[in-house]
Amino acid sequence: MSVLLEVRGLTVRFGGVVALDGVDLDVEAGSLVGLIGPNGAGKTTLIDAVCGFVPCSGTVALAGAPLHALAPHERARAGLARTFQSLELFDDLTVRENLLVPAERDRWWSIGRDLVRPGEHDEAGAAVDQALVTTGLVERGERLAIELSSHERGLVALARALAGRPRVLLLDEPGAGLDDAARASLGERLRVLAGTGMGVLLVDHDMTLVLGTCDRVTVLDVGRVIAQGQPEEVRSDPAVVEAYLGSATT
């Protein structure tokens, strides 16, 4: 499988705190990679750094092209989509409008056309429809994002990431606040997405979800990779048991 997202020696410092310390990580096309670690391990910081939201050292490449010179929105257009731990939906837009934002291309002449002939253009509508179907939100399209239940809001966040037709999807705790059944169906959705050739990085606290659905798992603790490999290898790794499982599964 070809490597879509390649992270090497990623280091992030906040003042004196080293939040990430030389992290290496690969996400291949068509694979579902898990990233776990205790609170404050640096999982969100890793997504922030890959997407250009925090300054970092080390290299990040998408399908072989280095990203370090690109602003966050340029990385998004290059095919990198993410969700946020706290969702960060566009609350006063409808679900459909939320999804249209990443789906519509911004060209220099867009504004001229939009002042005269508004509406949906390009193939954006099709991408949005597909994302709504994938996440089961078709019925909710015209509702304001803020009116939905927290479960549905989580799905909107996922759908918005999908609507930009990304090559790599970075998900920050999409399972938070879901019940077991919803988490299981989320896992199946993610497997289907990976099956379409997308690279998916799944950050979550839920061991059952991550170890049960991912192809490979990386474990972070205090900014360092302490284990990497097949779910069953990771599960039995003594360092992991010490740092994470020991405390989380009590």
Partner: protein, 617 residues
């Protein structure tokens, strides 16, 4: 400022001025009792500000609070004008002001006293906020109100205490500098610009940095006046007034970041930007109606309608910038003015014909908008308001007050617009028919085109990107939106719209003078736009009705004889709207109509109700 006036009245006439009454306490009150009463007055004003305005607005979006602060400033200024008149007052010296010689320069002693007092005040304040429980609690509350409340501190009480301190300090400062500067309402209100600039340099947290910045700013300002007199190639006026803008921009360039950080507190939502469903259909109904009304009314009422339509265009410019993208601008009139004076130069000076000259002028305004928008890439919210306010003051000082650009007291002539031999001007050859219907229809046409464009924008991809930036900058960037580009686009578009309004005002007045485009006019428009509804085209139209000289103020004047109180009333109205109906008057009206029809539908059948709920947004 209010405090200063209270003090001066006491000293000069022995009058204690209360709202609506004057108490004569003898011919002239001594210094100490006068100062004591002044402190009391400042305390009362500060407390009232917190209790009546900012306390209730604690949970409102920052935009509402900025607008309320602006409005409070306008209302207080209007109250001062009503109570004391606009003329400057000379004030007898308070501090000893014999000349002293320092390092070979001659200085009035009171300047040194002032400097020393300010430093002492900063040291005392620093100690208060660092050492006392009150200070610690205040700083805790500014980090987290809930946290402070859990520890048993009332955020409202703390805010009130701080308001009183701020009001008393500002009042005392006003009293002390009154002999040095002339006391008049607009100068005093504008003293807030360099003060805010210094506060921004201190990042709104550091007393010493703020004081140092303030002193340096003040000294540089007077030095610039001196330099401008020495070096002929420098603009003779306005450099000093423009300086705060430069300072603020540099401070921001050093400290600001392009995207808010992860921990940035979630802000309360702005008024909803409802999607217009059938703008073209609405226009088809409204335009003929408006044309008929314009044809039926004459004289003053037609002038009022024209003024309202031009005002609505300014409000539209704020809908794009503030309503759609969430960026604050207190400099809209600077854009309008630049376009107005450019138009005069193009049309009168260079003979550029009608539709071209105003277009080019508005494009020029858009270019200025881009320039003012650049700092907006790195600041947000209240700080952006300060930047644009400083920019507005700078443009006013450097450009509008410069007689060689704007023709000084005589003003700049704007020739009548004509198109294909058709006279679209406002003036008539026979007296009695002013203003001409042709001009009124021209303004209506321009307003309709622009309103439709802004309504279309809301329904388009560009508009969605704008609202995405308004809702959440980080998420917008993650969705591939170039947040900086969107902001610049909005600034340019908004300045273009304001510029069009400026050219219309130019045609209406025939002779433009700089005071039509002062900073206070900008502040007023922000208030009217917010009152009407900052995030919708309908709101902009209502805002236009409310503007000074527009339909509402004319009605107020003619029917109730309350024209003088227009400014004061709009200030009070704004606070009420910000508190009660954040969507503005237009939004509240739409909601009421919808609730009404939904209620009727419910009695008819349950199915229709569900339908109305589904589409009725």
């Amino acid at each position: 400022m209010v405090a200063t006036y209270v003090f001066v009245e006491l000293r000069q006439h022995g009058d204690l001025v209360l709202p609506g009454a004057r108490l004569n306490l003898g011919s002239s009150v001594g210094f100490v009792p006068a100062l004591a009463l002044t402190v009391v007055a400042a305390t009362v004003v500060g407390l009232l500000a917190q209790v009546l305005v900012f306390g209730p607005l604690r949970a409102a979006p920052p935009l509402a609070r900025v607008v309320a602060a602006v409005e409070l400033m306008i209302a207080l200024q209007a109250a001062v004008v009503l109570g004391f008149g606009t003329g400057p007052r000379a004030v007898a010296p308070i501090l000893p002001n014999q000349p002293v010689h320092v390092l070979g320069a001659t200085l009035a002693r009171d300047r040194l006293w002032l400097g020393a007092l300010v430093v002492v005040a900063a040291v005392v304040l620093g100690a208060v906020y660092r050492r006392t429980t009150f200070g610690l609690a205040t700083r805790a509350a500014s980090e987290s109100e809930t946290g402070a409340a859990l520890l048993g501190w009332s955020p409202a009480g703390l805010a009130a205490g701080n308001w009183v301190i701020a009001a008393v300090l500002a009042g005392l400062a006003g009293v002390l500098v009154s002999p040095v500067t002339a006391l008049d309402p607009s100068t005093y209100t504008l003293l807030v610009v360099p003060a805010l600039a210094a506060a921004l340099v201190g990042r709104l947290t550091s007393f010493p940095v703020t004081v140092a910045a303030g002193l340096a700013l003040g000294m540089t300002q007077s030095e610039l006046t001196h330099l401008a007199a020495t070096f002929k190639w420098l603009p003779r006026l306005g450099l000093g007034d423009a300086l705060p803008f430069v300072v603020v921009v540099v401070a921001i360039a050093v400290t600001g970041s392009r995207l808010p950080s992860r921990s940035a507190a979630a802000q309360a939502r702005l008024p909803a930007a409802a999607r217009p469903r059938h703008p073209t259909r609405a226009a088809l109904v409204l335009v003929p109606a408006a044309a008929i009304v314009l044809a039926l009314v004459h004289g003053g009422w037609r002038v009022a309608l024209v003024t309202s339509m031009t005002g609505a265009v300014v409000c539209l410019s704020l809908v794009v910038l503030t309503g759609y993208v969430g960026q604050l601008s207190l400099a809209q009139m600077a854009f309008a003015g630049v376009a107005g004076f450019t138009l005069s130069r193009l049309a009168q000076g260079a003979g550029v014909p009608f539709p071209l000259a105003p277009l080019v002028a508005a494009v020029g305004a858009a270019a200025l908008g881009l320039l003012v928008g650049i700092p907006a890439l790195r600041v947000r919210g209240v700080n952006l308001a300060v930047v644009t306010l400083a920019a507005g003051v700078a443009v006013e000082a450097l450009v509008f007050r410069n007689p060689s650009y704007t023709g000084g007291l005589k003003g700049s002539v704007v020739p009548e617009p004509r198109l294909f031999g058709l006279d679209l001007g406002i003036r008539v050859r026979h007296p009695g028919q002013y203003p001409r219907l042709g001009f009124a229809l021209l303004v209506l046409g321009v307003l309709v085109l622009l309103a439709l464009a802004v309504a279309n924008l809301r329904r388009s991809a560009s508009g969605r990107r704008m609202l995405a930036v308004r809702a959440n900058e980080r998420a917008a960037a993650a969705a591939g939106v170039d947040t900086g580009g969107v902001k610049l686009l909005a600034f340019a578009l908004s300045a273009f719209l304001a510029g069009v309004a400026g050219t219309l005002a130019g045609y209406q007045q025939g002779r433009l003078s700089f005071d039509s485009f002062g900073v206070f006019v900008s502040l007023g428009f922000l208030a009217y736009a917010y009152l009407g509804g900052i995030a919708t085209v309908g709101g902009a139209l209502v805002g236009g009705v409310l503007v000074g000289g527009g339909v509402a103020s004319t009605a107020l004047d003619r029917w109730l004889g309350l024209g003088r109180f227009h400014l004061l009333l709009s200030g009070v109205g704004l606070v009420a709207v910000a508190l009660l109906v954040p969507e503005g008057i237009a939004g509240a009206a739409t909601r009421a109509v919808k609730a009404n029809s939904r209620g009727r539908a419910r009695t008819a059948s349950v199915a229709t109700t569900a339908d109305a709920a589904g589409t009725g947004r």
